[in-house]
């Protein structure tokens, strides 16, 4: 226990200089000893930095636009190679497939088991379910059913395949020609693109911006309202306390998600998808718990002697609440806020997932995940990129909150 603490030195009556160590400095020292919390702090800091600097990165050309849709770049998989090459690669794969298809069809024209060939998907290749594809499948079915009539060859089948083959070949040629001249095709999508050809990295970062912003704003409003209501209720007590706390009880008894959904649908199409409404809806109910927490803290502190001493020194009620009582509850409030923030992000994601959150072209982690779920089997990265980003962030926030709770808890002072 040699390296603890400067407070020991403070207790001396000699004329020695003692460096003032505030509770915050002390807490910081303890937080730094907690490796997971420090790691979480770094990660959270990185997220914040990225979210803050996203517009800068975009204007500097490092990050692609999150709204720009390039139809030919649909559903590209994550890669460090330029988009043009990837498009050509997938088209060539498609061409090879079609050619093989065609060849095998001619070869086994009399075979009974020729149905499956048209559905042979290469795992990494991009296959679009456009009209040609459907025709092809139908044609195959048609062919099997009409096998008895050995002489009939469906003209639709070969026509559509040949058509697509021609189109793809022409596209590849065009791309080959423009790949070095068109700057669009030299774009690199590290985390792939979504089904409208938008950069997943940019969308995830911008989605994070909105999600984190909702987390911060929601927490701030919750904390501000909660502190105000809680401290007044706790300090004044009596009828006001009763009134405020019964109001909180009533709010508590309303099913939260239902209320938010009702609010979101009540504002109608005009307000739908606006972030402000989302903020209001979330903040409206989120302060309940924190006001209870603050109230409890204030009640336990208001009879302490330093409050009596402050009153005997002539301090008024607002001064006592804001100067003497609230700083003492700040530790609890900070810990609670760090744990509150992930819950807001979760709630926002949930609402967005239900289609009640932010709307396109804006994105949040919630909307990105819900979009990603749609093509989950084929384009897993569209789900995993936002989902993992969000999970890592929430994980780190929880770790940070845990670390702060240990650091700010005076009981844990001599532990570890």
């Amino acid at each position: 226990m040699a390296n603890i603490d400067t407070t020991q030195d403070a207790v001396n009556e000699f004329n020695q200089y003692v460096k003032p160590v505030s509770l915050w400095a002390d807490a910081w020292k303890r937080l730094r000893r907690n490796k997971m919390a420090v790691l979480a702090l770094w990660v959270v800091g990185f997220y914040f930095l990225l979210a803050l600097s996203a517009p800068l990165l975009q204007s500097a050309g490092i990050l692609h636009s999150y709204t720009e849709q390039i139809i030919s770049h649909q559903n590209l998989r994550p890669s460090f190679r330029p988009a043009g090459e990837l498009v050509i690669e997938s088209l060539e794969l498609r061409i090879a497939q079609l050619e093989e298809n065609l060849a095998s069809r001619e070869e086994d024209s009399n075979s009974t088991y020729n149905m499956a060939t048209g559905f042979d998907f290469a795992p990494a290749a991009e296959i679009e379910f456009d009209d040609g594809e459907v025709d092809e499948g139908e044609a195959a079915l048609e062919e099997v059913t009409e096998e008895a009539d050995d002489t009939y060859y469906g003209p639709t089948y070969s026509d559509s395949v040949v058509d697509e083959l021609e189109r793809s070949k022409a596209e590849v040629e065009a791309l080959r020609g423009s790949i070095h001249t068109d700057p669009q095709h030299s774009k690199v999508y590290i985390l792939g693109t979504d089904d409208l050809g938008r950069d997943m990295l940019a969308r995830t970062i911008y989605g994070g911006r909105i999600s984190i912003m909702i987390g911060i704003v929601g927490t701030l409003t919750a904390v501000l309202i909660g502190i105000l209501i809680g401290s007044i209720s706790g300090y004044v007590g009596g009828a006001i306390d009763n009134f405020l706390m019964r109001f909180v009880d009533i709010m508590y008894s309303l099913p939260y998600m239902l209320v938010v959904i009702i609010i979101m649908s009540m504002v109608g199409d005009k307000g739908r998808g606006s972030i402000v409404i989302l903020f209001v809806a979330i903040a409206l109910i989120s302060w309940l718990t924190i006001s209870r927490v603050v109230r409890g803290q204030i009640i336990s502190l208001k009879n302490s002697e330093f409050v009596e001493a402050a009153r005997s020194m002539g301090a008024g009620t607002p001064r006592i609440i804001f100067r003497h009582l609230l700083p003492n509850t700040l530790g609890v409030i900070i810990v609670f806020s760090t744990l509150l923030m992930p819950s807001f992000i979760m709630q926002e994601s949930f609402l967005s997932f239900l289609g009640l959150g932010v709307s396109a072209p804006q994105a949040s982690w919630g909307t990105l995940v819900s979009e990603g779920v749609r093509g989950m089997e084929l384009r897993a990265w569209q789900l995993f990129v936002p989902a993992i980003s969000m999970t890592v962030f929430l994980f780190c926030m929880n770790f940070l909150g845990d670390g702060l709770r240990d650091a700010l808890d005076p009981q844990s002072k001599n532990r570890g």
């Binding site: 407070t7 403070a10 207790v11 001396n12 009556e13 000699f14 004329n15 200089y17 003692v18 003032p20 160590v21 505030s22 509770l23 009596g238 302490s304 002697e305 330093f306 009596e308 001493a309 402050a310 009153r311 005997s312 020194m313 002539g314 301090a315 008024g316 100067r323 003497h324 700083p327 003492n328 700040l330």
Partner: protein
């Protein structure tokens, strides 16, 4: 009464309304405090010493407490009738307090400087820099070594004795007329107690501050006080100068208290005297002398009626049937 009376408490009554009934914590207390005087209030725990002084400052928590009657005249004005804003300009400025436990009387989250400067700026209208200089000066007077370095420390960096010195410095920083010291040495160890008492005595004498010293230690009042009030069950049962109280105690309770102090100068093999029984529960107390069940010299009338206060000589009163007329 002479003009130099600065604080006059007249028939002060403070009741607490509890589920069990009405608790008469202070029931008709009167005393005068003169300029520069040190007045001791002595009594067992629960006798109403602290509540009296909280009531003087109008610091009783209003429900459940209630100031049921009486006047507290400070410089001719009744503090109990003052609106809150006005009394706040008196608290900490004209009348200030030192509390029992210095470990909990300072806000653990604020620097000493912040807490001291706040009070001075609030009452004296000084700017922060002057207020800080004043604080440093007060800390120096209170015997804190190198106060200019220690002033930015937090309370937890001080020992108990140092904190009580800080409290004293803070309480005296606005040159109050009256200092109420509510058991200022109870939470300190014996060597520090003497230092703190000496400090209070010395500083208040220098600044001309009148002191109300609340304590249950007879040794402390004997050394410090000019006049002494002995309280029992919410009333003052005996008052007089320190010499009178210690030299010639009249009330059986005071006699019992003094007998139960261990003495070094009389080597006896006897057990230390103690007043038998417990102090009464003051809830719903009948109108009798509250001390009679413990009193060796109780009369029949003690069970029926509370005695009127008998004035033996000027400033020397006893509330006991033994001294009242018409017993």
């Amino acid at each position: 009464m002479t003009d130099d009376v600065i604080l006059q408490v007249k028939d002060l009554k403070t009741y607490f309304k509890l589920d069990e009934g009405l608790l008469k914590a202070v029931d008709g207390v009167s005393f005068d405090l003169r300029k520069g005087e040190t007045l001791g209030i002595v009594g067992e725990s629960g006798s109403g010493k602290s509540v009296t002084n909280l009531a003087v400052m109008k610091l009783i928590p209003v429900p459940p407490g209630r100031i049921a009657g009486g006047e507290v005249l400070f410089q001719g004005k009744d503090l109990l009738k003052m609106p809150d804003d006005e009394i706040r300009t008196i608290r900490g400025n004209k009348i200030s307090m030192i509390f029992q436990d210095p470990m909990t009387s300072l806000n653990p989250f604020l620097r000493i400087s912040t807490q001291m400067i706040e009070t001075i700026v609030l009452h004296q209208g000084m700017n922060k820099k002057d207020a800080k200089d004043k604080s440093i000066e007060m800390l120096k007077l209170a015997g804190i070594p190198s106060p200019e370095k220690r002033i930015d420390s937090y309370p937890h960096q001080f020992s108990g004795g140092m904190r009580q010195r800080v409290m004293i410095a803070m309480a005296l920083s606005c040159n109050p007329e009256v200092l109420i010291a509510d058991e200022p040495t109870t939470a300190l160890d014996v060597t520090i107690q003497a230092q703190i008492l000496e400090l209070i005595k010395d500083l208040t004498a220098r600044l001309g501050t009148a002191v109300i010293l609340i304590t249950h230690s007879l040794g402390v009042v004997a050394g410090m006080c000019d006049n002494i009030n002995v309280m029992y069950a919410g009333r003052i049962v005996e008052r007089g100068t320190a010499d009178e109280i210690f030299g010639d105690p009249k009330h059986p309770y005071t006699q019992g208290l003094i007998k139960s102090v261990p003495r070094l100068d009389k080597a006896t093999q006897q057990r230390l005297f103690s007043i038998k029984g417990q102090p009464p529960n003051v809830i719903n107390l009948p109108d009798c002398c509250p001390f009679y069940p413990r009193c060796d010299r109780a009369l029949d009338i003690c069970k029926i009626k509370y005695p009127a206060t008998a004035e033996l000589s000027k400033g020397r009163n006893v509330a006991c049937w033994l001294y009242s007329e018409g017993k």
